[in-house]
Amino acid sequence: MGGNFDNAGEVSSNIKTVLKQIGLPKDVIRKAALVAYESEINIVSYARKGMIRLRVVPESIMIEAIDEGQGIPDIEQAMQPGFSTANQKIREMGFGAGMGLCNIKSFSDVFHISSEVGKGTHLRMIIRASSAVLNS
């Protein structure tokens, strides 16, 4: 799905639909959809191709975003709010604020990122169903 903005967000919408069918709390679904969406937009923006993997167990949701592409040279820098290499096209779509990875991190209960330059990037997020219930 890399590079193609036409359907960007479709995967996240599907994830949302599936989670709704399972009947998870609204707040948990929102977090999961948001995390998936920011990941999806990053893949479309910066990678050649990629996929989003969803796994649901009773107490938590695991989302993985795996792509093949340029990778991230400096993860610490990329994680900083405001850091972005987004081009004009991405900015016109309303992205490129340099907030995506921060959002993903703050909306997940567990967040892992690894990346290799020239190969790709791998995000792994866990959202607990129970903690979110307490929140809402």
Binding site: G82, R91, E92, A97
Partner: protein, 113 residues
Amino acid sequence: MDLESIVKALNLKVRSGEDKLKAEIRGGYTGDLLSDVMANSKEGDVWITRQVHQNIVAVASLKEHAGIILVHGNEPAKDTLEKAVKGGVPIMVSDLPGFEVIGRLYALMSKTG
């Protein structure tokens, strides 16, 4: 109405252009896309945005804005601040979201006309 009274009323933190706070405000504009702000904002507007990139200073001085209010506690980036200080462009910071800043500003401006 001038910037100084807005700074007081909205409790803004002034980061640059302290000597330009007497500037008269003619209107407000909000937007985060520089091309849009370039095209549609007016002279004397106070510009409300969350963009912290140095290009905001160029836009504000080209369009002769009264000043820039950064929302959500966003601070100007280092080179943005340097440019703003040099160019005498007032940058003010609010912790509030844009909607709240605009709402309060709009109320003040319609009161004083």
